[in-house]
């Protein structure tokens, strides 16, 4: 969908859109979680569903931050000032959350998180698993300049 069409359909359907932009860095992920908690709380989700959405969005942000760390290590010319943009679109019975980053792709994480103490395991697999379980639909769109994770959760009423 083009930007223009998107704007048009927003106006027609009276979609509520909330956008949050913050640095792609570990200390800001909690801000995103609080904002998404506020958004999901405004919809017909149960307490458990709200917490599921919070965790799923947290995982998507965490994934972006980890990829950013890897990209910075592999390509030190990268300025390390990436941002994450979260676009939440609310309808009466559905929440769509897009977590977009500008982390250059193509830097596999292998080896970067190697831990001399041996207490690090494959977190990215766990995070992806959690997202799949926690929301109804997960789409990942990768371009050379960044990744967009789209999470969809249906509200069945509380």
């Amino acid at each position: 969908m083009t930007d223009k069409m998107e704007k048009l359909s927003d106006a027609l359907l009276d979609l509520a859109v909330v956008t949050l932009t913050f640095p792609c860095s570990a200390e800001y992920v909690s801000i995103a979680r609080l904002a998404i908690l506020g958004i999901a709380s405004r919809m017909a989700f149960s307490y458990d569903e709200v917490e599921d959405i919070r965790l799923a969005v947290g995982e998507a942000c965490t994934h972006a931050v980890e990829r950013s760390v890897v990209a910075d290590m592999r390509a030190p010319t990268n300025d390390g000032h990436g941002t994450i943009t979260i676009v939440s679109t609310m309808t009466i019975n559905e929440l769509t959350v897009e977590i977009k980053d500008d982390v250059p792709t193509g830097f596999p994480p292998e080896g970067v998180f190697q831990d001399p103490v041996g207490i690090d395991i494959d977190r990215q697999g766990l995070g992806a698993l959690l997202m799949e379980i926690l929301v109804d639909k997960v789409d990942v769109d990768t371009t050379p300049n960044g990744t967009c994770v789209r999470l969809v959760k249906h509200a069945h009423g509380v």
Binding site: E27, V29, S30, V117, G118, I119, D120, L126, L130, I133
Partner: protein, 117 residues
Amino acid sequence: MNLTITTTVPSANTRLIRLSGEIDIYTSAQLKQEIAKVLSEGVRFIVLNLSSVEYLDSTGLGLLIGTLKRLREHNGNLVIVSPSVRIVRVFEITGLYKIFDICATEQEAAEKENLQL
């Protein structure tokens, strides 16, 4: 919301670690450091009280799984104590409740592993 870590030393091979706050990509670095320190001291049993932990994500779970593996390799164990309903749900949906020992109280964890806490 940060993470507060309180470690007590009931015996040479045991640590009781009480956590309070959120375990996420930001705070788990701190937890990882504490666990690495404890492991380097030759500890075999860690009792981890999660009763005041409100949030646990994959970075936290990854840390717990890795710690469990390390301790079991040395015939030890990591026992989770008193997770909130929400955290129990995270262990359940990931299937991880099958690999962790989860106790309702520190007392129960002590009896289970025959530890003095």
